[in-house]
Symmetry: C2
Subunit: 80 residues, 2 copies
């Protein structure tokens, strides 16, 4: 079973890499792009029997290992 | 309007960072995790009037700027 853990910076946290990409897009005449924020995604393949178990394990791993709760927020999506 | 561009390595491409995280998880007794693949996500805020326009612009930006078509695949999700 596959679970995606999506990690984004909290909105109050400065994201210089995203800003740089935003400036580059403005230079390429994508003026409608008002903000770019970069994050990470981890695709976990889990050998468990139910979607609930996959979601609960992915959330635990995201909290304990993958994310930094001071700076980041995460969400978990389990694929069918 | 917000559009997420999710970029993952093609499945044939080696992902050492994901593998390292996988080994670390095995060491933490998450033995059910059989694979970890890392990717990137870009959250674009777009000043456009329709979801269709947002999706089309995000796809164009993903193709031209954000992804490397040799190594990566991307998908676009527009938020309501």
């Amino acid at each position: 079973m596959k679970a995606n853990v999506i990690i984004k910076l909290k909105s109050a946290v400065h994201d210089p890499q995203g800003e740089t990409i935003g400036h580059a897009l403005a230079g390429l005449e994508y003026d409608q792009v008002t903000s770019v924020r970069q994050g990470k995604i981890f695709e976990l393949t889990l050998d468990v029997s139910s979607k609930e178990e996959a979601a609960s394990m992915a959330r635990e791993i995201a909290e304990r290992v993958l994310s930094n709760p001071v700076l980041e927020v995460f969400e978990v999506e389990v694929e069918d």
